[in-house]
Every structure is written in structure tokens, then in C-alpha cells.
Amino acid sequence: MTMATLTYRDALNQALREEMQRDSKVFLMGEEVGVYQGAYKVSRGLLEEFGPQRVVDTPIAELGFAGIGIGAAMGGLRPVIEFMTWNFAVLALDQIVNSAAKMLYMSGGQIPMPIVFRGPNGAALQLASQHSQAWEGWLSHIPGLKVVAPATPADAKGLLKSAIRDNNPVIVLEGEMLYNIKGDVPDGEHLVPIGKAEVKREGSDVTLVCHSKTLTVALKAAEQLAEQDVSAEVLDLRSLRPIDEPAILESVRKTNRAVVVEEGWPHVGIGAQVVDIIQRDAFDDLDAPVQRVTQADTPMPYNKHLERAAKASPEKVVAAARRVLYLDS
């Protein structure tokens, strides 16, 4: 399969374009997706190629257009709803949780819900408290949804394409800080299965579980650990619901130690669930309690030094890894 080096942004753009070419029922709706070419330019060129009927600029009405997208899916379409950022999607949670996630069940199996909700999630740089929220913990809690959080351009393309073809509501968590990263992306038909994690770096001493932006953090930590003669395995979850329990357990059974790195807040974060899975099914394989590295348990401050201190970092991951390896005690 031939490859191209693309940014994460262009990989998403390619996935959207290919799926819209493939299936006329697929359309994109959201704020600034058309004339403005997308607040983060993910939809660049799509209005020109597919026209205003399939690339629909909306008013600022997250609850309303999320619901209109869901209704359109009930009517046989395959909507892709872009939230300018997931911070604003909080206004649309009623529709995502009560309409999209439950429609198939409430209707006794009559109404599938092939819809994608996507946009950047979590903190960027100095956007302060209301614009820096990571929602994976909340969204992964809901049965009836699928949740993916690609970390690389290839996974971004492959998971978005799979999401668009899925007959269930799929949440795609992107990242403003990811849009510019480059990587090899297979041309054309490249599908990444939803629910499958991937080992992004092999290792034997400790497993670093991560996803989305924390992959970079974990990989940097793994390099620093290598210099300290610690072999860290980096497991990128990629999907958060369903979550790849076998992959998590397989890695931990090999390394007997784990650190979970996540972007969100610690209390009832996605990492707590990963910990639960590990201690429940790999209890006897664990040589140390699983450690978590998360965002500080505070709203995000504006000041850049405070913000940096609030975020998960390679240094924090290295320290946690050394703790589970009892290297400093």
C-alpha cells in the first residue's frame, strides 16, 4: 500500500473526502465548516468539492444541530457533526446521550444511529479554564456510544473512516495540538478497527498506557527511561469505548508494571477504568500498584507556566515509572 506523509489535519480531511466521495449519504455539518474552511481547517476544500448541501455551516447552536444530525441519521443519512471544540459540545450532551446513544435500544432495535461527532478535545495552549477540557472520561461512560481518540495521522484517517462507516454513534476525539503533526498515511482504503489498541513501542519493564496527545508524552518518557536502562512498552489505546482489554492485559502480563497517562482530571478519569481492568484481571501479574499520570485536579489556568505544570509531562511519567519499578526507594 502506498504511503504519503500527511499532517493529522490532512489525514482527517482525506478521510472525510474519501468517505463523502464513496457515499452520498455522508455529509458534514458544523460551525465554520464551509465558507471558513473549518475553524482548524480540517474541512478545507470540502465545500468547493461537495457543495453547500453536503457541507453545512450552522449557527452557534450545538444542542440544536447535534439533534438535527441525529434526526438526519434516523432519516437514513450518515451525518458527520463537527464541534468546533468538544468544550462546546457540553451543550449538546443531552442529544448525544439521550437521543443518539439510546435510540437503537429504546426503539427495540429499529433505529440504527450511524453518526459521527468529532472535533478537538482537551487543552491546547493558554486557552484557560472553559476552553481546555478533556471529555474522554465522560463520553466513554455511556453505553450506546463508541469513542476513539487517534494519536497519529494514520490512525486519524483510519479511525475516522471506520467511524463514518459504523452504524453506531462514534465520538472522534481529535486535538488542536495534534493537527500539525506529520506522519505516514496509507493512501485510499485504510481502515483502523474501532476497539483495537496498538503497541507503539515495544518494551519489557513497564507498560505506559496512553491515547491521543499523551502518546507523545509516553514516547518521550520511554526514551528518557531507555537512557536509564528501563525498557518501557508504549500502548496506545486508540479506542476508549470499547476499550481493548486483551491488549492491555497482554502487555501488563509481560511487564508486570503499568503507568496510565491521560489528559483529563484524575478523579473518575478514563485511567481509573484502565486501572480497574488491570487489577481485576492481572492482579497476580502485578509487581506494583498501577500509577496514573493525569492533568492536575484543577480548572486549567491561563498562565503558561501554571498550565505546563498542570499537564501530564514526560518527566511525570518517568517519575511514575520509576515508582512502579521501586527504583528510587
Binding site: G71, A73, S107
Partner: protein, 331 residues
């Protein structure tokens, strides 16, 4: 005056009116039975009856094509039956049985039949209003000429989703009809206590939308108004806001008092004097379209139909235990 004296047009109209009368009776008797069944513990949870409002659904749905969409709030037993779900399948759903129109998983508030264009049964006030616009969006997008009628109560006008949706439906010219059943109360709250403007049609101005104020105690006026709105939606793809003034005889749901402290017994009695069934029956008698004997026969027939629905629901099995885990995700 006898039937033979009537022109084909009159006959067609007479038949339509008789059909509407029978439909109102059917819904009325169905709801009465549901109330009985609830009292017997055969129905659980919330159960919102439609008694008093029959003319609205009957009039509106008479103006629709079979393949048009209807979507409702939780007060939707009547619309479900009128859209073609058998009373048995609806009653079975209220009983939580496997033969229910939602396999016993949805219950009273979540009746569905996608093959008949009945898109539910929704429990969050205002939550289904955007869904209605989305269904209309899908119809227009696919070049179908289906329209969507969205039934909701007047209290939903105070919630944001209603406004966000009306604006988009108008900007995008969607073939949707927002049919507000103004029965004066949201649970125990009189609309004038929580709304700055009580004429709901007023809101249409803010969205450059066609609107009509309709007498909801008269099935024929509802039918005519809805026909005009359907025409506008199907031919010009323009949305309409219909405010239909009606009244709920029973409590908000089976768990609420009949009239309660928020309205007087007298008010309820006054309204019952405007009963849509009595009203249409009288009119048709006067026109010689029906006589008391035929009316009694019709009522008896409807009674049997509802009895059979209950029997069907009673005798139907509960869902298999593993149904708990099915329909969470589609293939």
C-alpha cells in the same frame, strides 16, 4: 336527508368525518383502558394519557401521507395508534411485553415503528424538536417529498432546543411542521405563570415562519390547518408553526392528581363540555351522517378492538432475559 342524496364529494367528506370520529373514539377508549391497566399494575413507570386532546392528533394525522414522519413527546399513545401501529402492539409496549412496538424496552414514553414513519416517543421536553428538523432535512436531502410533523406541549416553547431548531428549520427551509399542543399546563404549571407571551404563534415572527392558531377541540379545523401546512412543506419545503389550543382532562401522568391544586374542578368540567368527540358526533348526527344506533355500534366495535388489544398484551410474553444486552449497538 339520506346518504343517496349526497354528492360523491359529500360522501367522501362524510366518510372522512366518520373515520375521524371513530379514530377519536378508539384513542379515547384505548386511554381509558390504559388507565385501568395502570391501576391494576400492568403498566409501570410514567404513563401520560391523551384524553381530551384526541381531536389534535386525529385532525393532524388525517392530513398526512402514510410515508410522512411523525415524532412526539411522551404523550404519544394516540399518535402511535393513528400512524398505524396496532392498538395491541401499543398496549403490549405499555405492558412491557416482547410483542410491543419497541419490544418492551421503550414503554409508554418510547413507542416506535420505523416502518410506519412513527419515530417515537421521546422523554426529554423539547429533545425531539431538533430530531424532527433532522428527519425533514434527510427527506429534503434525499429528494423525497416526505414531511415531518412534530408534536410537543406548550411548555417546550420555553426551552432552548425549540428556538435553536425553529431558526435552523427556517434558514434551511425544511419540510417540517411544529405542532404545539397548547393544553395550558406543563405538569402543574399554567403557561402564563412561566411564559412572557402566551400566544405561541408569536414566536413564528422571530423565525420568519408561517404560523396558525387552531382550535384543538375540533378535529376538522385541525385537519384543515394541518393540510395547509403539509401543502406548504411538501410543495415549497417551508416549515410551519401550528399552535393548537386543547385541554388535558386527566392528571399530567397517572402518578399525578386528576385536577390538582393548579386548576379547578370547574375548569376541567367546563372544558369537558367542549369535548371533541361529543362535538363531532353531534355535528355528524345533525348532518344525518350518523345516527345514535350507528354511533353506539361504532363505540361497541371500538370497545372490542381495545379489549382485544388488552387481551393480546396480557397474553404476550415478556422479553427474553438476554434482551437486556441486545440493541445496545448495531452491527
Amino acid at each position: 336527508m339520506t346518504a343517496t342524496a349526497r354528492s360523491p364529494k359529500d360522501t367522501a367528506q362524510a366518510e372522512l368525518h366518520l373515520k375521524m370520529l371513530r379514530q377519536m373514539l378508539l384513542v379515547r377508549r384505548f386511554e381509558e383502558k390504559a388507565a385501568e391497566a395502570y391501576a391494576l399494575g400492568k403498566i409501570g413507570g410514567f404513563c401520560h394519557l391523551y384524553i381530551g386532546q384526541e381531536a389534535v392528533a386525529v385532525g393532524a394525522l388525517s392530513a398526512l401521507r402514510e410515508d410522512d414522519y411523525v415524532i412526539c413527546s411522551y404523550r404519544e399513545h394516540g399518535q402511535a395508534i393513528l400512524k398505524g401501529i396496532t392498538p395491541g402492539a401499543v398496549m403490549a409496549e405499555l405492558f412491557g411485553k416482547a410483542t410491543g412496538c419497541s419490544k418492551g424496552k421503550g414503554g409508554s414514553m418510547h413507542l416506535f415503528d420505523v416502518n410506519r414513519g412513527f419515530m417515537g416517543g421521546h422523554g426529554i421536553v423539547g429533545g425531539h424538536v431538533p430530531l424532527a428538523a433532522g428527519l425533514a432535512f434527510a427527506s429534503k436531502y434525499q429528494g423525497q417529498d416526505k414531511v415531518c410533523v412534530c408534536f410537543f406541549g406548550e411548555a417546550a416553547v420555553n426551552i432552548g432546543a425549540f428556538h435553536e431548531t425553529l431558526n435552523m428549520a427556517s434558514v434551511w427551509k425544511l419540510p417540517v411542521i411544529f405542532l404545539c399542543e397548547n393544553n395550558r399546563y406543563g405538569m402543574g404549571t399554567a403557561f402564563e405563570r412561566v411564559a412572557a407571551v402566551t400566544d405561541i404563534v408569536e414566536h413564528a415572527c422571530s423565525y420568519d415562519m408561517a404560523a396558525e392558531l387552531v382550535d384543538g377541540m375540533n378535529a376538522l379545523t385541525v385537519y384543515e390547518a394541518t393540510r395547509r401546512a403539509v401543502e406548504r412543506a411538501r410543495k415549497q419545503s417551508h416549515p410551519t408553526l401550528l399552535e393548537v389550543r386543547t385541554y388535558r382532562y386527566m392528571g399530567h401522568s397517572m402518578s399525578d392528581p386528576l385536577h390538582g391544586v393548579y386548576r379547578t374542578k370547574d375548569e376541567v368540567e367546563e372544558q369537558k363540555a367542549r369535548d371533541p368527540i361529543t362535538h363531532l358526533a353531534a355535528k355528524l348526527k345533525e348532518e344525518g351522517v350518523i345516527d345514535q344506533a350507528a354511533l353506539d355500534a361504532m363505540d361497541a366495535e371500538v370497545h372490542t378492538e381495545v379489549e382485544e388489544a388488552v387481551k393480546f398484551a396480557d397474553e404476550s410474553p415478556d422479553p427474553e432475559p438476554d434482551e437486556l444486552y441486545t440493541d445496545v449497538l448495531a452491527e
